[in-house]
Symmetry: C2
Subunit: 156 residues, 2 copies
């Protein structure tokens, strides 16, 4: 295996990884940690956009940054972070994903497409700076979050 | 305080947060968790792009997704996640930031601008699908990561 980028940066495992042919596939623990991180980046930007919408003076520039970050995560290809072997396990914490996520591909596809569509629309609407339109579109994105949580995220 | 987006989704703290005027400022613990998460999203996409560059068959579409996600995080306005009160504390884990990050604004600005510049250039280069050019630009982005780590991230 070749060194990963992390090893490149830290040098910590340089000796351990030198000399082999291909990048090591990411470990399940990393995949789970990365998807939990991506959802936290969404959380940050949804909270941030909500606070902006609720404030007396909507900040167009901050709204654009939040919306673009949400859209970027939606477009990032998170599906690869739900690879086989990540049905259970721990990243930052034990995964909250329900088993159905890995078996009901049709429904997963539907919620993913819905989130992508509304997140990309959010970025477009935020670019206009129309606070009322951003608020309405923010609600639509939130509904796609909730739809996926209802079906595929454990409550415990 | 108004309800945050999280409360909106979960309903968990609805009773506690109804009826007041403004969104509650994020807690220091959340800010630290969110910045640690954003760096993990960078980590995921730098590792992913490195593996792609090292593979026998460079995947243009996956390279674009990785580069766009890196650029989006660079443009997200992470400075707000380093608000006063987050010099120490714990998100997913105790923060690794050095105290100098909060006092050497000039140097922080320089490393931030350098990262933004190279990350946005990475997205442009990835759009061309030229694997050799992506590899070269990936290296430049990595140098800006390293520059910041050297100055502002604790080794322990």
């Amino acid at each position: 295996m070749k060194k990963t980028f992390t090893a490149l940066i830290t040098g910590a495992t340089l000796a351990a990884v030198a000399g082999a042919a291909f990048a090591e596939p990411a470990k399940s623990e990393d995949l789970i940690k990365w998807r939990q991180s991506a959802y936290q980046v969404l959380h940050w930007n949804m909270d941030r956009l909500k606070a902006n919408i609720d404030s007396p003076q909507y900040n167009k520039d901050d709204g654009i940054k939040a919306a673009n970050t949400i859209a970027a995560i939606a477009n990032s290809g998170m599906g690869s972070l739900f690879a086989a072997g990540t049905e259970t396990g721990k990243g930052w914490h034990p995964t909250s994903v329900k088993p159905a996520f890995f078996t009901d591909g049709k429904k997963v596809g539907e919620v993913a497409v819905a989130f992508n569509k509304e997140a990309n629309e959010l970025a477009k609407v935020a670019a206009t700076g129309d606070a009322a339109a951003v608020k309405a579109q923010f609600g639509k994105v939130g509904q796609t979050c909730k739809a996926c949580h209802d079906d595929f995220r454990r409550k415990d």
